[in-house]
């Protein structure tokens, strides 16, 4: 029998809450207890399941994911993927047996974890994050009959689907929002480990800020980690102390430290006007404090949605092996939440969004393209 996993339970709880919050009109009557939230998810699930028809238990399709070192409860990237898998299961009315995750504590765990999943014969095994590139390539080569997915990287093999994101587009919108909101004329960006993916965030954000006002300073720093929240807190402390009033992080679990720092500052000085911009998931919940909420907005990365849609695609039309599915604003694979943005700011964001969609604005993918 499947025992409920602690992390899964937590993840479900928060995801339900986030979903509810996302839906806007529902947010008002969402109570904050996890049980209620879970119920709501189930409700959502049932609704969709009904739409799809009741006879879904026959579906013999299961998917699994291998986390990167951040773990499934990183409140960011991996968690978003796991939430997507849960949604996918719910939408088909499938039980928890059809989805699973394998937690990696170290890079050397990737391959054993992949092999565990292979032994369980999942239809698609997703590697969450660019760190799994080599592991997925190796294992896909050794197991040509199995199907794999990789997020944020491209593997050109017939049994691997690559899911990538134009994160720079969402980051651009975050930059616009930050530039429009800042009072001090100084904002901060904290990256995890610099590389192709995080470069997109940095480039997009800086371009977005510059798009509004060239004179706004953007402090850039990298944590060198996606897991160490204490480094995130240190960097955020420096940035806020230096006068930045908005910090955007693209650093996975490191970002938890950024939220902690902002909360500490607000609790000691409630008049401080500081904000955090969340990443990958709607991180509004992380910004709750006694006097309100300090998550200005979050860039969304539809990791969960991409998994959901690729799994559906595989079920309906066959596995999109060898394809690279790139999700951008246009595909609604990335987005910016409304969050605590004022109306004028939101208007500016909407305007920029349109500019990108129309091709009037080209968002750079790497800082050196700026």
């Amino acid at each position: 029998m499947t025992m409920l996993k602690l992390r899964a339970m937590l993840a479900l709880g928060t995801s339900a809450f986030v979903l509810a919050a996302c839906q806007g009109e529902d947010a008002g009557d969402t109570t904050e207890t996890i049980e209620d939230d879970t119920e709501e998810t189930t409700d959502n699930g049932e609704d969709t399941a009904e739409e799809n028809g009741e006879d879904t238990e026959d579906i013999d399709f299961s998917i699994a994911m291998i986390t990167d070192e951040g773990g499934v409860d990183d409140r960011s990237f991996n968690q978003s993927a796991w939430e997507g898998m849960n949604e996918w299961a719910d939408s088909h009315g499938l039980s928890n047996d059809h989805i699973n995750y394998y937690q990696s504590d170290d890079a050397q765990d990737f391959i054993p974890n992949l092999n565990q999943a292979i032994a369980e014969d999942y239809d698609i095994i997703y590697g969450i994050g660019f760190a799994l590139l080599d592991a997925i390539s190796d294992v896909a080569e050794q197991n040509p009959d199995m199907q794999f997915g990789i997020v944020d990287e491209i593997v050109e093999m017939d049994n691997v689907v690559s899911l990538t994101f134009r994160d720079h587009e969402a980051a651009f919108l975050a930059g616009v929002a930050a530039a429009e909101t800042t009072e001090t004329g100084r904002v901060g960006f904290i990256g995890g480990i610099s590389g192709t993916v995080i470069d997109r965030f940095e480039a997009g954000f800086r371009a977005g800020v510059a798009h509004v006002d060239e004179d706004i300073t953007v402090d850039i720093d990298y944590a060198g980690s996606f897991t160490d929240a204490s480094i995130g807190q240190q960097i955020a402390a420096v940035m806020y102390s230096n006068g930045a009033d908005i910090v955007y992080h693209a650093a996975g679990a490191v970002g938890n430290g950024v939220f902690t720092e902002a909360r500490n500052r607000l609790e000691s000085d409630p008049d401080d006007e500081i904000w955090v911009i969340g990443v990958d998931r709607d991180q509004e919940e992380e910004g709750n404090w006694d006097d309100g909420n300090f998550t200005l907005t979050s860039t969304l990365k539809g990791v969960g949605a991409s998994i959901e849609s690729s799994a559906n695609l595989a079920m309906d039309e066959g596995f999109p092996g060898g394809e690279n599915i790139a999700y951008g604003l246009e595909e609604e694979g990335v987005d910016l939440t409304r969050g605590n943005l004022s109306d004028e700011v939101w208007d500016a964001v909407e305007e920029a969004r349109q500019g990108i969609l129309d091709g009037d604005i080209t968002v750079p993918e790497a800082p050196d393209e700026l």
Partner: protein
């Protein structure tokens, strides 16, 4: 007074008891939180031992842990607490990959020798820094090696991003000429990453034993470690031996890093933290009580635990956190075999203490 046989028996019993206690404590923890420990341990051992792939992975892990364990042990013998094994692993790892990528066309035997030797030397120098500082300036090696760990971490990440690769987080894969993989091992273990490092580890275990027990240099290292003053009186040079042992410690760790790089991964990627094999090597060494063969077997145990813990969530319903706590508890008891030693010692002194005079 303990006779020789008793002493041997006792040296054997202490680690066994530590392991048993660790498992019992882990079981109690699981019971307390409502999980079935028997099912869990079954999943763990079945998962690893009944499947060639996972057994291969456990042995691969044991290979690296043997190096880090031996590395820690040799410094420990000389009275040194080399907490910097992790950093030395990392510098060894990055060096081996760098060399392997720089000379891709050399013949395999030459390239492997070159890569491993370079890693060994860099690891040795890295640890040697702490040794020199300690020997000549009395600097606390624990603090120095911790700082060196962080320098190693950020230096490695810098090198990967800016020197070895161009802006990426991962280097290229080394060519087959620099890989430690051997086909028959891979096939035997159904595709695991177990590699020729295992044989190097076994050779090093033997060399370690020879060095420690059969050579004058090993004699000096042991004597200095056990009693610096008496050794100095006897004409040995304490600083020289401190540096030598630290040098060898780093060499072993660096070699372990190279085997991790050329055997396990075939490349290096930016690290968010120091490799866990470095720190687990400490526990491996303590469990093995500094005996090379003991270290080899405790490395295997740790390899099995490490790989086996992956089975707890999906096969026994024990959540990851719980699995990690259980493993940590086992490691704790294993590391705390000093506690068991202490208890033994207490019983022993009660039996044999003679009181009088001075």
């Amino acid at each position: 007074m303990l006779t020789k046989n008793n002493e041997k028996l006792y040296n054997f019993l202490v680690p066994i008891l530590s392991i048993v206690l660790g498992f019992i404590f882990g079981a109690i923890l699981m019971l307390f939180f409502g999980y079935n420990p028997i099912l869990a341990y079954q999943a763990m051992f079945n998962g690893v031992l009944a499947n060639p792939f996972f057994f291969g992975e456990a042995m691969r892990q044991a290979t690296v842990l043997t190096f880090t364990g031996l590395g820690f042990a040799i410094a420990f013998k000389a009275g040194f607490f080399n907490i910097g094994v992790a950093g030395q692993v990392l510098v060894g790892w990055v060096t081996s990959i760098w060399v392997a990528l720089a000379f891709p066309d050399l013949p395999r035997i030459l390239l492997l020798t070159l890569s491993l030797t370079a890693a060994l030397l860099v690891g040795a120098v890295w640890a040697g820094i702490a040794g020199v500082l300690r020997a000549y300036f009395g600097t606390n090696e624990v603090i120095v090696t911790i700082m060196l760990n962080y320098i190693a971490l950020y230096l490695t990440n810098y090198l990967i991003r800016n020197v070895i690769s161009t802006g990426g987080n991962t280097t290229e894969r080394v060519g087959p000429n620099a890989s430690l993989r051997v086909d028959w091992l891979t096939q035997l273990t159904q595709g695991s990453r177990l590699n020729a490092g295992l044989f190097i580890a076994i050779i090093v275990v033997a060399l370690y034993w020879v060095f420690m027990t059969q050579t004058t240099a090993g004699f000096e290292v042991r004597a200095v470690g056990l009693n610096r003053f008496a050794s100095t009186y006897a004409g040995m040079s304490a600083p020289r031996n401190i540096i030598l042992s630290m040098f060898l410690s780093g060499a072993l760790a660096g070699l372990g890093g190279a085997i991790h790089g050329l055997g396990t991964f075939g490349n290096i990627f930016t690290q968010s933290g120091l490799p866990g094999v470095g720190f687990n090597g400490i526990a491996v060494a303590l469990l093995g009580l500094g005996n090379p063969v003991g270290i080899f077997f405790s490395a295997i145990l740790f390899g099995v635990l490490d790989v086996g813990s992956g089975f707890l969530p999906n096969r026994a319903g024990v959540p990851d956190e719980m699995a990690e706590i259980v493993i940590a508890a086992i490691i704790f008891f294993v590391g705390a075999n000093y506690l068991i030693r202490f208890l033994f010692e207490k019983v022993k002194t009660k039996k044999t203490a003679t009181e009088g005079g001075e």
